[in-house]
Subunit: 452 residues, 2 copies
């Protein structure tokens, strides 16, 4: 007999004569006549209740069917008289597939997020962490589907890199030699690092294929123990040929709306868990992300608003500063109460590859600011003019020879093009209300933390 | 006016009064009255022909519209009198978006794969490399779609790891310190490496969520300069709870058939390029992969066949050897002439986590062998019994303490489970007939090679 997943069972509207389920026991409760077993198989948040009486074949296993044990159950799926469940299974046969030893740490009670991080290999068996992993999966799938529907090609940009994408952050070094062996004797014949961004490679592909995106792991060796930083995280980076800054914002806005709508549709049960128990404002945030037109505002105008704000900021505001999270959140959460694109940032706080505006002072950058998270997306129109790019590189003391292939793209059929980066874990935090990045990653990597 | 991609234009059956296209010039040919420009925008293999006469606004740019230049063209799409193209564009306006300097290396002629590797940033602008990149994208999307439809969750297993998945290969070390600083002072407080497999982590997730897969970059620091090895490549690793070796082979076979069918459907034009110019047997191979039932054969029976083979092998065959590529290819290419699963391998040549068979000599491993490539997939049913797993680890001198979390999964609701790994680049080589792994990766990493 073929096993049916619980998600498929619970999607039914009619009972079923014969079913086989397999999963893990969440709880067992015994009365004089019956045992009630909650079985979850990870396919969805909900468990299904199994009723076993003393005469059921396999009932002799009941004493060992404890929380965490794995079981296989055959029986009839019937309407449940109980509350909160449409169906239950009256068992005709019970099999103990795998016992759960007494030390099982996930007994039926609330566990702190901190404790659950120490058993990251078991925490996806809880409601909350099962839910975030399912949402993470669906969000990935929605991102791929959005870009495929929009005619983008998925590319895989290198993880090991010899370039540093303009010092976007501290890098991890990669080596196969030890001690003081010179880099010229190392595997690649030079110093190599873990990528901080696939953008420069993605630009090369966009200038051949049109619209592309890369979606993969990126790394920062920053020794900061905050709730928003991980050493390893996933980043989405689309890059579009023949696209200006407005087109860039259009794609970013359409993407977020598509993903939010898709998650609300496909993960309703899991999202409800977060809306009920993690962030009471979650549904409002998600509805706004899906339905509101996002504000588009120049950096200069944002500075004006911040200067007029009645709110005391820790960091003083003036034209030219790199906005802090408190400023970004003020704009999105308090002033506009919806997502805000800021654009045309001062050149001094942005990297060399962003397109210089005609004012000579600002570049065609854009950030998307959202409630609770601050910056979700950072992007720009790229400088496609060879001479302007050289000027900026010289001003920043970047050796052109290191970027010979990047410069080539400005010599041979250069076109206006744009792209952005979206921190995937930040998006997941936005979608769930989870406030620590460690809790949206299966096995997070942070300073000193490499278990599992 | 909104730009239309060439792929969308060529999919039409009717002419169009007004179009705007943007792309790169492949060739320009002048007659007394007209110039003919082939424009490609990367959206598909085919270019579209643009006809410009001297009176067209922008015609003054014609002398600078050389191979590689970027153009924008408005005009009318009309049926083409020429051969091999249904439509062409009679231009009403021509814009030179970006010139192509004289040194442009991709002039209209055949370039060797070796040369094109030195300009990996430009090669996707050629027919062949554009095609492989589009096929790579589509294949990725098909893999995601297959697993989503089958109810699998996509997980992201860590790239930076403190464990080594039983020495699946030489590893790259990751560090933020230099010289002789002890690993305890390093970023993670211990030695860390780039992952060689996400399997052990994936097992943890499968034992919570049911069916999962991880699809991401993996690494081997092997200093071997062959056409089949890269230091960085993508690997697909599904892992299924409540699944035995037969179920494992079923999923693997269904996946390959789904992907081949999808690529044949969606990438017909790009595949035809490879079938015509790279591998004349390609269509036969792909049809067999899609339509034939795959052979399933025990390792022992395979050894019998090899011993009886009339073919002289470089490596002698006997029960217990790790089959070489020549043996694998003989089975798939010559003996059966179709894909072959081998299963139940001798324990001595397989890692600790594979499930011991009742004979005590073989383990529940399976490899999928395919023509031209040899091993495409390697997988197994995992050892779910705590005592048997401990026995194997002791026999192999693996310290159980290093695997405490992995062992936990055998203590708390352990269930039969299975999974496999598929080398994504090998799949792409199979799908295209390309014989060097460097040519299916945008920016390949091999010993001494880290440009771009």
């Amino acid at each position: 007999m073929k096993r049916t997943k619980i998600k498929a069972l619970l999607a039914r509207t009619a009972p079923l004569e014969n079913v086989l389920i397999k999963g893990w026991v969440r709880t067992r409760r015994d009365t004089k006549e019956f045992s009630f077993i909650e079985v979850n198989d990870g396919s969805c948040l909900a468990s299904i209740q199994v009723i076993v009486d003393a005469g059921t074949p396999g009932a002799e296993f009941l004493p060992r069917i404890s929380t965490g044990a794995a079981v296989a159950v055959t029986g009839e799926m019937v309407p449940s008289p109980g509350k909160g469940q449409a169906f239950e299974i009256r068992s005709r046969g019970l099999e103990l597939v795998g016992t759960s030893q007494e030390a099982y740490p996930l007994q039926k009670k609330r566990h702190s997020d901190e404790f659950l991080r120490t058993i990251a290999h078991l925490r996806p068996r809880t409601n909350k962490y099962g839910a975030i992993m399912r949402i993470r999966s669906k969000t990935s799938h929605l991102i791929h589907r959005f870009f495929e529907e929009e005619g983008f090609f998925l590319i895989h940009t290198p993880i090991i890199t010899g370039s540093d994408c303009e010092g976007a952050g501290e890098m991890f070094r990669i080596t196969t030699v030890s001690g003081s062996t010179p880099a010229s004797d190392d595997f690649f014949g030079q110093e190599t690092n873990l990528t901080v961004s696939g953008q420069l490679s993605a630009e090369m592909m966009a200038l051949a294929l049109g619209d592309v995106y890369t979606f993969g792991p990126t790394f920062r060796a920053e020794n900061s123990n905050t709730s928003r930083h991980a050493a390893e995280f996933w980043m989405l980076e689309p890059e579009m040929a023949f696209c200006d800054l407005t087109g860039n914002m259009d794609i970013a806005e359409a993407l977020i709306k598509y993903v939010v709508q898709g998650v609300l549709e496909s993960c309703a049960e899991d999202i409800a868990l977060f809306a009920n128990f993690v962030d009471k404002t979650l549904m409002k945030t998600l509805t706004s992300l899906r339905d509101d037109a996002y504000i588009r505002l120049s950096y200069a105008d944002a500075v004006e608003i911040l200067l007029k704000a009645k709110k005391p900021f820790d960091y003083p505001v003036s034209f030219g500063i790199d906005l802090q999270s408190e400023h970004e959140r003020y704009l999105a959460e308090e002033h506009f109460k919806k997502p805000v694109f800021l654009y045309n940032y001062p050149k001094g706080i942005k990297p060399f590859y962003m397109r210089m505006n005609d004012d000579g002072e600002t570049v065609a950058a854009m950030d998307l600011l959202v409630p609770r998270i601050g910056e979700l997306i950072g992007g720009s129109q790229r400088e496609e003019r060879e001479d302007k790019l050289q000027e900026r590189m010289q001003a920043l003391n970047l050796p052109e020879a290191d970027y010979w292939w990047y410069m080539d793209s400005r010599r041979f059929g250069s076109v206006p093009h744009s792209g952005f980066g979206l921190g995937f874990e930040r998006l997941l935090m936005l979608l769930t209300g989870i406030s620590n990045i460690r809790d949206v990653i299966a096995f997070p990597r942070t300073p000193g933390s490499i278990d599992f």
